[in-house]
């Protein structure tokens, strides 16, 4: 087993500085600071409701933040709508419930981004989509509607759809939580392959084995705060806080 590590000198893709997010007077994120370097895989773990999804949604400005700042490629996330769209085009997002478009076939789902957003020609976006479906192992399912795909297949199409924008970073929000156990592996394999290709990734996950093997950096959340972060070896083998140990213990993780 090899643990891929990004070079320490790599450029910073995302930087979070003291990020705060409120829903009414409920504090969903509090003083979150971390960074994601080029080609790094960062896994976010922590109990339900601890703010992991919220942080992802703030990253591509699906939610606005109430304090601190998020820098993408050294530039603060913009407020202007058109500028926000430009930023989103450079990030891919994969959802827990896939969120494939049910009225579009697999390949049409993948074509959606390049053709409507990037304005690629029909032929160019189709070529790109075909290559991506092949990459996620679904070349033969191109004409299937989502209703005729298994959960694992739907999620792989969703990954291809996000990749079709040729993003600089991929955001995964519990990509395997809605899957049957037997299809989790196929999705994780696709993600592992992406990581090996050098994609920069933030992955919210409860798959500790995946985090242990693929992550370069693991961030532990609890109640909107980061309670510990570091290389997986540290988090899983020698956690420095009792709360991290408790959380991993609850999951039945014993190192």
């Amino acid at each position: 087993m090899t643990i891929a590590t990004a070079p320490q000198t790599a450029a910073t893709v995302l930087q979070y500085r003291d990020v705060q997010k409120l829903y009414g007077d409920f504090v969903a994120l509090q003083g979150v600071s971390m960074e994601v370097k080029k080609q790094q895989v960062v896994c976010l773990i922590g109990p339900s409701g601890s703010g992991k999804s919220t942080l992802l949604r703030c990253t591509n400005a699906l939610e606005t933040i109430d304090g601190g700042e998020i820098l993408f490629d050294g530039v603060r996330l913009p407020k202007d709508r058109t500028a926000i769209r430009k930023v989103r085009q450079r990030m891919g997002m994969v959802f827990q419930n896939f969120e494939l478009f049910p009225h579009k076939t697999a390949i049409e789902n993948v074509i959606m981004g390049p053709s409507t957003v990037l304005g690629l020609s029909d032929e160019a976006s189709r070529d790109r989509a075909e290559a991506l479906l092949k990459k996620v192992g679904l070349a033969d399912k191109a004409k299937n509607y989502p209703a005729n795909l298994s959960g694992g297949q739907q999620q792989r199409v969703a990954i291809a759809r996000a990749l079709a924008m040729e993003p600089e970073v991929m955001l995964f929000d519990e990509p395997t939580s809605a899957l049957d156990p037997e299809t989790i592996g196929e999705v994780l394999n696709v993600m592992k392959a992406l990581a090996d290709d050098g994609m920069t990734m933030i992955v919210v996950t409860h798959e500790m084995t995946f985090a242990r093997r693929v992550a370069d950096h693991v961030v532990v959340f609890e109640r909107g705060e980061i309670i510990e972060q570091g290389p997986p070896k540290q988090i899983f083998e020698a956690p420095t806080t009792a709360r991290t140990r408790d959380f991993l213990g609850h999951l039945g993780w014993d190192g």
Binding site: N60, L62, R85, K86, R88, Q89, M91, G92, M93, F95, N97, E99, L100, F101, P102, H103, M112, G113, T116, V117, Y145, A147, R161, A162, M165
Partner: protein
Amino acid sequence: MDFNFGPVIESWRFLADGVRITVLLSLSVAACSLTFGTLVALARRYGPKWLQAILIFYIDSMRAIPVLVVLVWFYFAFPIATGINLPPFLSALVALSFNLTAYVAEIVRAGMESVRPGQVRAGLALGMSTPQIVRKIVLPQAFVRMMPALGNVLTLTVKDTAIAAVIAVPELMRRADAIAGQTYTPVEVFSTVMLLYFCIIFPITRGVDIVYKRISFLGRS
């Protein structure tokens, strides 16, 4: 009691032309209501506040006023108030569409609201603009989901066109009334008319059912 279907059979061309006008009026009203109903629903959701207020008032009033009153108003009052004279068919088209647009707008609104927020988020995450998301993601799914309700409106439309008889649109009901009056065979004529309306509407209901069963998965996210 003796039945005399002679007059009905003799004037079948006259009645058939009435069916043609009923169908033509229904389809025109349905097309207008669907178009404007969708626009009203969109304006109500994304338009400026003042426009939303006007549209809510419009929708509420159309639900509170009988369609017959709207029709009579457009035919008898509208020309005097505005100096614009519309022929009967056009008056009926405008009045019925004006009324049904409000219902369609409510259906479209509910349809759009029923599309999961995650679908919009998926579009946003790709970098799509709100108009693109509405056009390519929300509306197509909403229309699939709305099909049964819209089919219902279409049958209502056909039925509502019968009241256009009061402003002398030569549709099925108007012509039936004329034949019944001239030949003193109301039982035969109006029974035939009932059957004809049933024959127009029944295939619509069944057809929508069958199509919806086959395509409902396109709207299921």
